[in-house]
Amino acid sequence: MIQAQHLTKRYGPKTAVDDLSFAVAPGVVTGFLGPNGAGKSTTMRMVVGLDRPSSGTVTVNGKPYRDHAAPLHEVGTHLEARAAHTGRSALNHLLALAATHGIPRRRVDEVIGLVGLEEVARRRAGAFSLGMGQRLGIAAALLGDPATIILDEPVNGLDPEGILWIRGLLRDLAAQGRTVLVSSHLLNEMAVTADHVIVVGRGRLIADVSMEELVRTAAGNTVRARSPEAARLRDLLAGPGVTVTSSEPGLLRVEGVSSEQVGELAREHGIALYELVAESASLEEAFMELTSGSVEFKSHGVAWEGQRSAA
């Protein structure tokens, strides 16, 4: 369980994380989504006390990370691809971390096996590929068998086999009842791994919803209708909350109603439909829709509020 309340981080005049409040629940994979520079890494660093919040608080399993007597048993983190001394072997890196918590050697060997680094455990971490470095970081995160796991962009640099492995790993960890928070700017990756998403842009919370809901509500669903009486159908559909656009004669794009509602309305009024298609937005589109405001707008003015209400 991770709980952030009004978390804010300012670097001089720049606000990296802006009044962020969210909770990450156990038992599901929570995706932490946002474009590069949205404040994901800074937030994760504040969760484990590497960065100090300018204001606000964040707790893990009920306490600030720093106050846990045995933090590696509470939270496993893999925040950056480079988090091991390049001159030290993977084995010694893990042994050094394990020593701080009195974690036995057999657990070190176990996590090395878990991430598939047995062959290279005695090689210098500096000679590792990005993918191997990710595996080493994940091994370190799992070392203390923690109830909460935080991984920052773990699929970066992994080969397809490694990506499949990570997906399985994250699902297994969540299925065991752990809290799993995974950041990514790769939307399609999140779509297949995350059950829930926290979307941030410019340091602010944009959405905190299930993955399904993100796709459904963020971009909205569009109904495409083709009819010889398009103009009449358009007038009948008109009403609050409904937007109808047309790019060619006879074709309507309707937002705000379901395809069923359009079909029923047409039948009631005896309007022939040649085509009726419910177009659901891809995650990519939903994401662009959600974060475009946060990327483009220079201030949190009216445009920003518009984005939020759209979400």
Binding site: L50, G87, G144, G168
Partner: protein, 280 residues
């Protein structure tokens, strides 16, 4: 591998975690454990052996060379004033740089590689990392320095036998142990400066600055100031502990060393403050 359920036999195996964190097995972070961790770190880097080996070679080789050639190159007048103990420990003037650099690297190596984030995630209270690094680095450096100083002394004296000194000569034992203490504290100062600057280049520059540069500045001062300033500079204060001849420009051995220790303690405390208060 797509499952983490591969270790069912282990009491803290990931498969057992469905019920929550394994607090029954969890052992807290203690200073002793952090010290053990730092010991694993220090001995698992090749640079540690290289720098300590270089320190030993410099101590012994320079001691031998300088003792031998300064004795054989001296006339009767100079030989009457020959300080065999001091000559045999000449290597300390270079070895203080190697141990200073090792002291810096002990921490800046973590900043340059990103290791510091792993370290501070494991020890989020941070300050134990400073104490543990010093607690591991200091005895290792002391042992290497003491053995090197002893070998340098004995071999150098043998080279110019029967004119050399022995460990029972006045001040000899104090000088040999003093060199080892001086080098150890110099290394600790390096670690403090490393925590303070967080960069290898910055740390090494600070070590050189606090020693050679201050010494050069001191030497450039007007003569009337020198007596009141120079003995209190870090390097001069520290060197007093292995200086044999009474030297009016230096403090007495142990007061000088105490002052040197105070300088080192200040850098370590400043480094600890930096670690505690800055984002990692």
């Amino acid at each position: 591998m797509t499952s983490v359920l591969s270790a069912p036999s282990h009491p803290t195996g990931t498969a057992d975690l469905a019920a929550g964190p394994q607090s029954a097995d969890a052992q807290p972070v203690t200073l002793a454990r952090v010290v053990r961790s730092e010991w694993v770190k220090l001995r698992s880097l090749r640079s540690t052996g290289i720098v300590l080996g270089l320190t030993a070679v410099l101590m012994v080789a320079l001691g031998m060379l300088i003792t031998y050639f300064s004795w054989h190159g001296s006339n009767a007048f100079a030989r009457a004033r020959f300080d065999a103990i001091d000559r045999s420990l000449s290597g300390a003037h270079l070895a203080m740089l190697t141990v200073g650099v090792l002291g810096v690297l002990v921490i800046t190596g973590e900043y340059t590689t990103g290791m510091i984030r792993s370290t501070l995630s494991a020890v989020p209270r941070r300050l134990p990392v400073v104490w543990a690094k010093v607690a591991v680095f200091a005895p290792v450096t002391f042992v290497v320095s003491l053995v090197s100083a002893l070998v340098a002394f004995l071999v150098s004296q043998a080279l110019i036998a029967p004119h050399g000194a022995s460990l029972s000569s006045p001040g000899a034992l104090r000088a040999v142990v003093g060199v080892a203490l001086f080098l150890t504290v110099m290394g600790i100062m390096g670690t403090g400066l490393g925590f303070l600057t967080r960069s290898t280049a910055g740390g090494i520059t600070s070590v050189v600055g606090l020693t050679f540069v201050l010494q050069a500045i001191g030497a450039a001062l007007p003569a009337s100031w020198q007596h009141s300033v120079v003995p209190y500079l870090p390097l001069q204060a520290g060197e007093a502990v292995f200086t044999i001849r009474p030297d009016t420009t230096l403090l007495a051995p142990w007061p000088g060393f105490a002052l040197f220790c105070a300088y080192a303690a200040l850098t370590v405390l400043a480094g600890a403050y930096t670690l505690e208060h800055r984002d990692a």
